[in-house]
Symmetry: C2
Subunit: 150 residues, 2 copies
């Protein structure tokens, strides 16, 4: 009976420890309205561009299957994948799988989309230079494109 | 005996799970030479400033007790605390404790220092605009200053 209690205690400790260590760094933020994406996406604004730091810093969290439409950033964007597995694709190039620790540098004006994989959500931190203007949203991503078809 | 084996299995599972979930996002990088700091500090360069993204992005990891000397950034700096507990102080102001999830915006030219607390290391991601020049290193941080004295 003592050993069973110990088992349960260790199980509880293990779970608590895993949860504490795996806790996200930043809040999930606000759920984004479904204007330019499919699925559930949350945005947390770490920094809004100003005259000292003229780039936005945000954390985006995608549920499995959630993905943005095609778009481009006039000043480019750097994505740092913090958790999970997602996809990134530039127009005319193959879809890439992106994972925790990956860094993607998207050049100004390059048409692309990104999102979560169907099985796993994805969270990334982005920095987006603001001096050349805001994100330009383009056509809807098709199911076929999302699943890696031509 | 079966219960004991189960205990050990659960303990092993708990440990593995905690380790996997708590794994750092980026590599620890290179150990920095002790020129402008005390203790052990590692640097991982995510992005070196270029003409498209004219700010550096780095991850710095400090062992407990490690701290930088006084310095200033001609273009300012944004610190995002990713793990642990540290200190941040601007010259003439009280020392602040900084924790996972905190964001510190340090204005251009403001003399300051940052580092880990004595009990816990700290890891942060920083973005540092490069257009006005590199970090300017100043006087050594005293023991008294590190421990919050005047």
């Amino acid at each position: 009976m003592k050993i069973l209690k110990l088992t349960m205690l260790l199980l509880a400790m293990g779970t608590t420890q895993a949860f504490a260590q795996g806790a996200p760094i930043f809040p999930k933020g606000e759920k984004a309205p479904n204007v330019n994406h499919v699925g559930n996406v949350w945005l947390y604004e770490v920094h809004a561009p100003d005259s000292t730091f003229n780039y936005g810093i945000s954390v985006a969290t995608f549920d499995p299957g959630a993905r943005l439409n095609w778009h481009q950033h006039p000043g480019g964007q750097i994505l740092m994948i913090m958790e999970g597995v997602g996809y990134y694709q530039e127009k005319g190039k193959p879809r890439q799988t992106i994972r925790k620790g990956d860094v993607v540098k998207c050049s100004p004006g390059v048409v692309h989309w990104h999102g979560a994989s169907p099985e796993s959500g994805v969270t990334y931190l982005s920095t987006t230079p603001a001096q050349n203007g805001k994100t330009v949203w383009l056509e809807k991503l098709t199911e076929q494109e999302y699943f890696g078809g031509k």
